[in-house]
Amino acid sequence: MLTEDTASAVLDDETKDAINVDRTKGDFTFPERNKFDAGWGLSSKTVDYICDVKQDPDWVREFRHKALAVFESKPMPTNWATEDLNNIHFDKIRYYLSDGEKPKRTWDDVPPEVLETFERLGVPQQERAFLAGVEAQYDSEAAYSNMDEELKKMGVIFVTSAEGLKEHEEIFRPWFGKVIPTGDNKFSALNSAVFSGGSFIYIPKGVKLKQPLQAYFRINSESFGQFERTLIIADEGSEIMYMEGCTAPKFDTSTLHSAVVELVALKGAKIQYITVQNWSGNVFNLVTKRGIAMEDAEVRWIDCNIGSRLTMKYPGVVMKGERARGEVISIALANTGQHQDTGAKMIHAADNTTSNVVSKSISVGEGRSTYRGQVHIPKHLKGCKNNTECDALLINSHSRTDTYPAITVKGNQHATQHEASVSQVSEEMLFYMQQRGLDEGQAMSLAVNGFINDLVREFPMEYSVELKRLIDLEMEGSVG
């Protein structure tokens, strides 16, 4: 008995240490050393400052100014979304911060504190282990961007959006802002006005990437807004898997992250876009993501939201060519102080197109999860299919979950299916698991992991391990 007690006491400390290290994995910051700072607030001067620093071509400058006007003209969408949006103070945010350095091609050239940041987050290690290329963004700009030589030779382009629009204008410009128009919503307009960073990717015809490309978005500075812009074009018959991760230190003031991601899958191409979002609890994460899928093409969004104060994100697929497929696989975990407002948007615009949405949300403590789905199948089409499943798991009685599915199906030559469920980790299930020796936190983790198990399998192995660990940590913190 004595030895057991002593052992468990020692090990409890170890556990505690392990948890502390992991919980605060992204919670550290370095002093700012920004050469360029657009200052506080947003005006046409801010936009000009960003254009000047980035040496934008005139068409981009014009694009940004128009977008600013759209942003200013659009009200906050609080008529349908949470009032918490009113707590974003656009005049208390800095819209551009950078050290003025170009992204480096080797980690050795990256400034020491930036290198240390990404090493602590495991980015160079992952690159060595299983990635074909990495872009690592630090505040407004990429600090590092590199890709396998082999891929370069095959004609794959993987650069920052700034390089994309300047050096590959002929491919970039025809699609830029076309999948997600500036005026899609207030935050897509904001991003269009002040965007900086993000990736531009082009995969040539028939090229199938065996290993994923990855972007890591890091916020280091306080009261800052990160507005990366990503455009991925997969040419006919090509395949790409792109993964993004993100972290920020926990500040007392709010941080804004508002990205726009556009995917273009040409005939027969496949794009998989995987996100593990783990922002700190002060981040407003308001992101617009949409893909367009041409004939026989496929766009899959695999989206996991664990962090942030408020996330609003509804990845979409416009199925524009016959037999195109769209999919959204989504996991959201809302702990106390968090609201995960996520969902999917499926627009069928050709015959025999297929879409699938599987969303699982977990609400813990005072956490709140919302699912918003939109499926649109117009009357003149035939043979379209949609399957939507959304399941919510509530961990205690304070949790809240809402589902707003909107399925507009016209015509009768289509097949749609919608299932929704709300379940709880019941006291009896916990009793059963605890009776087998698991403590409450372990039992909860196991139940939650079981709930999302089938979706976690959709993530690449390296990510699913990380995902399970993050969920374990959230659960351990949520009991007792």
Partner: protein, 250 residues
């Protein structure tokens, strides 16, 4: 060495008293059976022993090898050696049987020590073979879509894997056909040991044909009203529970 229940009282949260002073000692090496009509408090007794939080112990003690376990949590009691085979085993969606049992075993190891996967599966398969369970059950989610009999066998499988000091089996025989009952009994009998005490809760004498108890107790209205040898079960079977109500026996 024993699991000792002394003058145990327990109420529901609404104040209704279910256990009204139960006293019972199960020494290691013995099998005790509790019989009794529905609503007599048999299942409640098993849950209170396991530490279920819906029941409030108001008096009395439960001691495990001399140590009072009243202040221990459900999982601490489990790791200390108490196993409860459930009358209605819960489903744990998405968690495979193999992972669940492994997690339960892992919880008994010091932090940092990992279960040897090869040895684990060897041991698991041996026990599954004994219980005539298909290997497919390792990959299936815990009890999800299992028939009543499969669930009960799965309880015995977990019990064999966790190797507890004291086994409490709550109506393990209910819902079993005769073949399944024989298999379950085979598992339980394989676990008979001078180091292990067992408590069988059952409604019917039938189970006791296959698992021979050392002592039989009759429970009624929250108390043990009669104790005896195996012959008591036969007497109950013959006369029914009504004979308990005769004043001579009260």
């Amino acid at each position: 060495m024993s699991l000792k229940i002394d003058n145990l009282h327990a109420t529901l949260e609404n104040g209704t008293e279910i256990l009204k002073g139960v006293s019972l000692e199960i020494p290691a090496g013995e099998i005790h059976a509790i019989m009794g009509p529905n609503g007599s408090g048999k299942s409640t007794l098993s849950k209170v022993i396991a530490g279920h939080e819906s029941y409030i112990p108001t008096a009395g003690t439960v001691t495990l090898d001399g140590a009072d376990i009243s202040e221990m949590s459900i999982d601490e009691r489990s790791r200390a050696g108490i196993f409860l085979a459930f009358q209605y085993p819960n489903e744990v969606p998405g968690v495979s049987n193999a992972n669940f049992i492994r997690a339960a075993l892992q919880s008994r190891l010091p932090k940092g020590e990992e279960i040897d996967a090869v040895a684990y599966y060897k041991s698991l398969y041996e026990k599954m073979d004994l219980l005539e369970m298909d290997r497919k059950f390792t990959a299936r989610a815990v009890n999800e879509g299992f028939s009543g009999g499969e669930k009960k066998r799965n309880e015995i499988l977990q019990m064999m894997m966790l190797d507890p000091k004291y086994c409490v089996m709550d109506e393990t025989d209910s819902g079993l056909d005769i073949d399944a009952l024989k298999i379950v009994a085979k598992g339980v009998n394989a676990m008979r040991s001078p180091d292990r005490g067992m408590l069988l809760i059952t409604h019917y004498q039938r189970l006791l044909d296959y698992i021979k108890p050392d002592h039989v107790h009759v429970m009624s209205e929250g108390r043990i009203v009669k104790s005896g040898g195996p012959e008591l079960a036969l007497e109950l079977e013959e006369k029914g529970y009504d004979f308990l109500k005769e004043p001579a026996l009260a």
